[in-house]
Subunit: 347 residues, 4 copies
């Protein structure tokens, strides 16, 4: 099947490569000509402009956008006037599903079809395949199945779920039509919300293990500091590369994320290459916002989100308010950083 | 190698079977004679009492306890007087590592060796193998390697971690000597703490998906209830069995726990077989307590723990305090249960 | 000064009474004629319809809406066509500040002035006065000062803040022009968010005290239950009415909310009149949503919000997911309710 | 009544002054002779050593310790041998109630009485009086009432609680015998836990207000950053000194802590004098540990505690784990600090 791909960044280019390798025909375009050139050298057809891309596609066209969420609308503003009734636009990036619903209505008014695809898989997706969560009209999604099944990992990528009727859904192959427009990005949004929570669970647990030698570091005795009552309980020097490795076999917490952590710790046991300023690209925020709208409690997912905010210093004013109160009611003076007892960088 | 096993419950009996199948020689004992009988029928040697067990073992003996954490000390009180210097006692249950340190000292004074083994794997362990996190004296742990390597899943049970020196540690086989006494259960404790957080991340995310049709249910308009401002955004009927199935292939949140959820949802999409009273067997509590001792923030792991407490009604008095305050400052009267909008049991 | 009041519920009627007592002239209207009658009996002028209300007011008119947030727009739809350029509409309810910004623009296009007033004080406000957080055009807010200063508690209601320039702002009197349209409800929204957090802090703390006798209740010993390791530490029978009373004098946590709790506990030490289903009327949700938009961590305020959701059963599906996972990996069977150890209703 | 006071720091010296002014007879001692001298100049009797202190006291003696929790035991080691059966030792500091129970037993074995007093009031206590939460034997506590009633604020310091029987308990005067040994510090511990929660509620809310101008600061558009979707909603420049001042009058969140914040913000609107490294002196940790023992959910109190840990950098390793995972699955590169958008120090 033929597909136009707009956006040849990290994800888009790899998806074109996987589609091409899987026998689909891609025409690739990016605002940066160099990105198009790189794919051309891999034998992929390229386009020099949106007009050129649209011209090269057979009708009804299928165009996949793989651009940052913040520029989808600007891209659509230029693309949509070039399209014709019956054409399909697929947004495979990390759009907010609110925007999908709006865009679906806007494009529908022009008799264009809009499909939203939440795409998971990251840099490993080219080889492993991508997990695709899809929203849109049933007939249109059906029409795109050759694309989806080529991008997806396939049924063999995981053991069959006991009790599950084989082939009862394309979910077994790694792509799923979740519902009407927005449903794909809604499910992907929650996927990422869960991802935040899982990542934080690992990170917090490893931090406890990292500080399991706390009893070896003397702590000052003063009215500002809670002493460690039983230092003999915190005398462990744990090898986290080994610990995460052992958890990969037979434990309850095995996962792909754990595989990645185990790999990171092999080469850099203290993760000194990172400063610990953790970005969030939106889905975690939207997940918690959806939970609040629905009245569903998400203490874990929100704690994970807020830990990222705090990692970037965004609790600073709140912390100063706390210090000011402590000063005013108790005469407490702020302590400066304590190199030995404070956490991160152990000698 | 020869091993005495005390405690033939769910875990202990399966471990004996795996050891026997792997060529190790087990002598099995349980306070319930029937449990011993069941294993005897599988060709395993049984003991009729602790004395009988000890008598059947070659010196220096190795005895593995697989009993509830709450009865380990009572069992040791009876077992220890029967042992001789050089014998090894292994606690493979879910003991608090504080107890390991104490017991290690107590048994050491009698020239007995104490080894603590955090054992993960659950009911699947008999086939998959068990992930073993081990604390104790280096030489003693070394001596027990045939046992550990038979119980563990083996190197082939997971792909090699890129960059990792093959054979640099037994972690690659699924068992690890983590450090001195208590280290095994310390690492297992944190493993379970992470497990709580991961489980809660999935549970919260699925709850959001479960309520993605919130816009279809009219909510009352009154001063006590926050209206859903944009019901058109919550019109999705999601098939969670399919959603969790699709996530098993290529997504970032793939894991063994997800595999299990996908299986549960196949047969019971609303999980009506469960009431949602979630137990906690200690490790989650101890993990948070350790974090507090170390001064390490664990907002996610503690939120997961507290959600379990709340699931059992242990926030009730706090909630009544809130309602009383609301009544007194704002004249707010408690609303009774709202069958349509409240979450759990959708029709 | 003359003011039309629309909405004579709990809050609106009391505000009319306070204004009237303070020498302002009110004309009162409510869709329920009985509510108007009640105020007429107190000597307040009443209106029989919106038209009647508008007709009785001198130009430029000032009309205060004190109606549920969910019906403000419907009320404005009827009121606005009756007004003339230069008239002022004040929304004193709990509107979302997003709506204020929209309404300010809509009314501004008709040369009407829109003022949003976050009003705190609850049922005690008639006597204590109301804390007013105001958003709108500076000149318009200035014009309404007689109304605001009559509703507000006045400077004498709290001791002067040391170091503060007397009269540097009307804040000292209990009302404040916070900024342009929406600013009043924005500040009120965060006020309520803080209120959620404070209430939860008290509620959680009192719950700990309520269970300080946990060591007196035997807990089962099984693999599903974490035993209380040192029951001798939880042998206290605390009188919470006395504890909250003593905190009212000289402690760091004294507050008006604490005064209310102390009062509630006098008559009903176990708060048996409440079921503990805690409503939320919107501001707590909006506060967390604003924090997320701003990238500001609010772990405490969101935990307080989610505890309310959970109190109404909205975590149920998530809890069932947890139980299903525990069953599937560990063979754990859900325990039924434990009357003795579970929290709320102690014998 | 006569009292020996050991420990003349911030709290101890002020308590001696209040007792002396209230007609009680104090003999003051501190390991730092200069501290004794300062009180002597105020007309208080001083002691040059523990022996001297004990010699000057009439039998049965009453000795109050007001020293850091970490040195109570060392002080008792020296003091106890000097005392005689029937003497009373009062620990008025911030001891862990576990220690009270142990010390009560140890001193009881020598026929000495041990009383634990949780003392709240901070630097304002000398004038306002101290809120006293007391644990110990009933008869002994009764004997010390002259001391307690002089230290406490007195009934007039707060309005009577409606419905409360006047004089039904000394709680109305600001001191309370809570229960047996440890009960005083248990109640004080939870008091401080609540204090953490309340402080965090204010701090988080004020942080939201502090960033209410977020829409004025352009944020980068890239795949790492969630854009602010509606900047027009965050255009407020709020004067937090005024906002906290207005909340002091008639609002639901009025409190002594709020009075203090309002004062801090008058002189330093951005609280630039503080770095925001917030200490914790133990009670918050112990409160959460007690909640965990009891199985009582405390999501708010623990979130407040963990925010303090994070303010001191103790989440650093966890954050690096998050960044490493994001790099490995998504190719995400950490962003460096964003001076304009990051929270704390606005220009």
């Amino acid at each position: 099947m033929q597909l136009g791909m707009i956006g040849l960044g990290r994800m888009g280019a790899d998806m074109v490569r996987r589609l091409t390798k899987g026998g689909q025909q891609c025409i690739a375009y990016d605002v940066q000509a160099a990105a198009v050139e790189r794919l051309k050298q891999d034998g992929v057809a390229g386009a020099s402009s949106l007009e050129d891309l649209v011209a090269q596609l057979d009708k009804p066209r299928a165009v996949w956008l793989m651009v940052p969420a913040a520029v989808v609308d600007a891209t659509l503003d230029k693309l949509v006037p070039l399209l014709e009734p019956g054409d399909i636009v697929i947004d495979g990036g990390n759009s907010y599903y609110h925007d999908d619903i709006r865009r679906g209505n806007e494009l529908g008014a022009r008799h264009l079809h809009y499909v939203d695809v939440g795409t998971s898989g990251g840099v490993a997706g080219r080889e492993r395949g991508y997990c695709l969560m899809i929203g849109g009209e049933t007939e249109v999604v059906k029409r795109l199945e050759p694309i989806f099944s080529t991008l997806a990992p396939g049924a063999g990528s995981a053991a069959a779920t006991p009790g599950r009727q084989p082939g009862s859904s394309t979910a077994d192959q790694g792509f799923l039509h979740c519902g009407p427009q927005g449903a794909g990005h809604f499910v992907k949004m929650v996927h990422n919300g869960i991802e935040y929570g899982m990542m934080a669970a690992y990170a917090e647990g490893l931090n406890i293990l990292h500080h399991a030698d706390a009893g070896k570091h003397a702590r000052e005795v003063d009215a500002e500091t809670s002493p460690l009552r039983r230092p003999e309980l915190y005398q462990y020097d744990l090898n986290l590369a080994d610990v995460t490795e052992v958890w990969r076999r037979g434990s309850v917490i095995g996962s792909w994320l754990l595989d990645l952590i185990a790999g990171s710790l092999v080469s850099d046991a203290d993760l000194k290459d990172y400063a610990g300023r953790v970005s969030d690209s939106g889905e975690g925020r939207w997940t918690v916002a959806a939970a609040i709208d629905e009245g569903v409690p998400t203490p874990v997912l929100s704690a994970a989100l807020f830990a990222r905010f705090s990692s970037r210093g965004d609790a600073d004013f709140a912390n100063r308010v706390l210090s000011a109160m402590r000063h005013d009611f108790g005469g407490h003076v702020e302590k400066s950083a304590e190199p030995s007892a404070s956490g991160g960088q152990k000698s």
